[in-house]
């Protein structure tokens, strides 16, 4: 994830938006001048722009689709181009979670041709459309075909929302390994909530990327982190 621009794709529910928000905050904390572009033209809810206040407070510039993202108008904000023009920036592009959503990237193909970027495929082994190697590969290839780019790495971000356990993450790691073998793509990291870090430290070959949870449901927002997530239901 050292390339200047990180493009985040994956199936809805893979947690790609959560990963994109965490990654942008991570880059900003490392002192990088960072911009996050919410380019999801498909999904109306649980969008990264909803975290604009938090991101901007951390120094991340947030670029949103038209009408501030709150209307279902699939129009791109020309400010996205600033990420390509200003080469001092680190860019995180959060792309819609299916091949149709990934089509947005095709519009930037000429820019990407001369660009240093990673295209990450965020994988959740608990989503029915990506829960086997064949299905995950189909999905990955569907995204590649629509966005006219090649995926460069896999992020295992397997979760079950509030019911996630370390075992779920390990199950996802096994699927990611199988997908990696089939495609030759590297596993870039495993997205792991910081609560599970002590349990998973040293158990996986690839780096663990510590995650916080920001994309909360409305009943989770006033609650303490520890309480809202791992104890519900």
């Amino acid at each position: 994830m050292n390339k200047r621009i990180q493009i985040i794709t994956g199936h809805y529910g893979s947690g790609k938006t959560e990963f994109a928000v965490n990654l942008a905050l991570h880059l900003a904390r490392q002192g990088e001048e960072t911009a996050l572009a919410d380019l999801d033209i498909v999904n109306p809810y649980f969008r990264s722009y909803e975290q604009a206040d938090r991101l901007e407070a951390a120094g991340v510039r947030v670029i949103v689709t038209s009408c501030g993202g709150a209307a279902d108008i699939p129009a791109l904000n020309p400010a996205v181009l600033s990420i390509f023009e200003d080469r001092s920036l680190r860019g995180v592009l959060d792309i819609g979670g299916d091949p149709i959503g990934a089509r947005v990237l095709a519009r930037f193909a000429p820019k990407l041709a001369t660009e240093d970027f990673d295209l990450l495929f965020v994988l959740n082994a608990n989503r029915p459309e990506t829960n086997t190697v064949d299905r995950a590969l189909d999905y990955l290839q569907g995204i590649e075909a629509e966005c006219r780019q090649r995926v460069t790495g896999i992020v295992n971000n397997t979760h079950l929302c509030s019911q996630t356990t370390p075992e779920e993450i390990l199950k996802g790691a096994a699927l990611a390994s199988a997908l990696s073998e089939r495609t030759g793509l590297p596993i870039v990291c495993h997205g792991v909530h910081r609560r599970f870090l002590p349990q998973l430290e040293g158990s996986l070959a690839e780096p663990l990327f510590p995650m916080e949870l920001y994309m909360k449901k409305p009943w989770e927002i006033n609650r303490e982190e520890e309480e809202f997530i791992w104890q519900e239901s």
């Binding site: 809805y12 529910g13 999904n43 109306p44 809810y45 649980f46 709150a70 209307a71 279902d72 959740n124 608990n126 989503r127 029915p128 829960n131 979760h159 079950l160 929302c161 019911q163 449901k217 409305p218 009943w219 989770e220 927002i221 006033n222 609650r223 309480e227 809202f228």
Partner: protein
């Protein structure tokens, strides 16, 4: 079975297929688009028919036709689209046909917003169409329930020969949760001898119609319908109670606000206030008796109604309580969702804390 992560809309669509629904007619609108999208992909694979109609009015009339043929059929939309379907819904009730209608509510009135809301409670429970008709309304609060209630809705619709509505705010359609696929106990369902499946020259044709020229026959028809609706009120009321025993504050909420109320209950507990929740699962028929029983406990000082509207279900809450306890309201409309803190504050105000 292992848990899987499903988006509410997708789970509803998959649940319909698992319930034997082979026909879907609809028209796109946010925030329910994943339902038609999923069915457009998967219905043809099982020999079913997905059709994107030219409008919601056309779609509901296609549902009318398929239901008349005795087939399991569904349509879905969101608030403004459901308004357009009201004429079809009253016809389907009048012709006594089973069908499942999903309303994934967004902010209103008019086109409103694409964010979650519950402003269609009156329309769903009182009827936006003409005439003395009723239909069951199920309000899921989790994705597991959304999947389960679709299965239930198809059975109940067949049981009573009446449409059933699944009413949820957009949050339920758009959010993801872990679910397990499971089969509910099957009802014994009557054979559809009334369906227009061809006479094979062995019987008189079945006619699907809601028109009566003779007012006496129409009056009889209404009496018969009223009996059917009374049976639904007798047999189909569902609700859930959480922490209601000896509570000081009783929340009433369905869908997303019920989840917010549960978060508020845990917060209030830390502050030494015992709060509980009565969650209507069927909005029609409404759990009037259960609510009154819970509110009549000596411990209950106030009933607080929580909605994503400016106050619609509160009418049913007041009907249920018959003035036995004070009722207050907290809610927001138009796509903004109150926080657990907002709900805690309303509860404290209601009991003067």
């Amino acid at each position: 079975m292992a848990k899987e992560l499903w988006k509410g809309n997708e789970a509803i669509a998959e649940a319909a297929i698992r319930a034997g629904c082979k026909y879907f007619f609809g028209y796109p609108i946010t925030p329910q688009n994943e339902i038609p999208e999923y069915l457009s992909l998967h219905l043809p694979k099982i020999g079913g028919c997905f059709l994107q109609a030219e409008s919601e009015v056309a779609a509901i009339n296609m549902v009318y036709g398929a239901a008349g043929c005795g087939k399991r059929v569904m349509t879905s939309s969101s608030s403004p689209g459901i308004s357009l379907k009201q004429e079809g819904i009253t016809y389907i009730c009048g012709a006594e046909l089973p069908a499942v209608i999903v309303n994934m509510m967004r902010g209103g009135p008019g086109l409103g917003t694409i964010q979650p809301a519950q402003g269609d409670y009156f329309q769903a429970t009182r009827g936006g169409g003409n005439g003395d008709y009723r239909h069951l309304v199920y309000a899921p609060a989790t994705i597991q329930e959304a999947a389960d209630f679709v299965q239930l809705a198809f059975d109940v619709a067949d049981h009573y020969r009446n449409p059933v509505m699944i009413l949820a705010d957009g949050m339920i359609g758009q959010m993801m949760e872990a679910i397990e696929w499971r089969e509910l106990p099957k009802r014994e369902l009557p054979e559809k001898t009334w369906a227009t499946t061809g006479t094979k020259e062995a019987r008189q044709p079945n006619v699907i119609n809601s028109l009566y020229i003779d007012p006496n026959l129409c009056a009889e028809h209404n009496e018969r319908l009223a009996k059917k609706y009374a049976a639904m009120e007798e047999n189909e009321v569902l609700w859930e109670e959480y922490n209601t025993e000896d509570c000081e504050v009783l929340f009433v909420a369905y869908g997303t606000p019920s989840r917010i109320a549960r978060a508020a209950i845990r917060q209030l507990e830390k502050e030494g206030i015992k709060a509980g929740l009565l969650r209507p699962i069927t909005l029609w028929p409404f759990p009037h008796k259960a609510l009154k029983a819970a509110a009549q406990q000596a411990s209950v000082k106030a009933v607080v109604d929580v909605e994503l509207s400016m106050g619609q279900m509160i009418d049913d809450v007041k009907i249920a309580l018959e003035g036995c306890k004070p009722v207050s309201f907290v809610g927001k409309a138009g796509g903004v969702v109150p926080t657990p803190a907002d709900v805690c504050a309303a509860a404290k105000a209601a009991i003067g804390r």
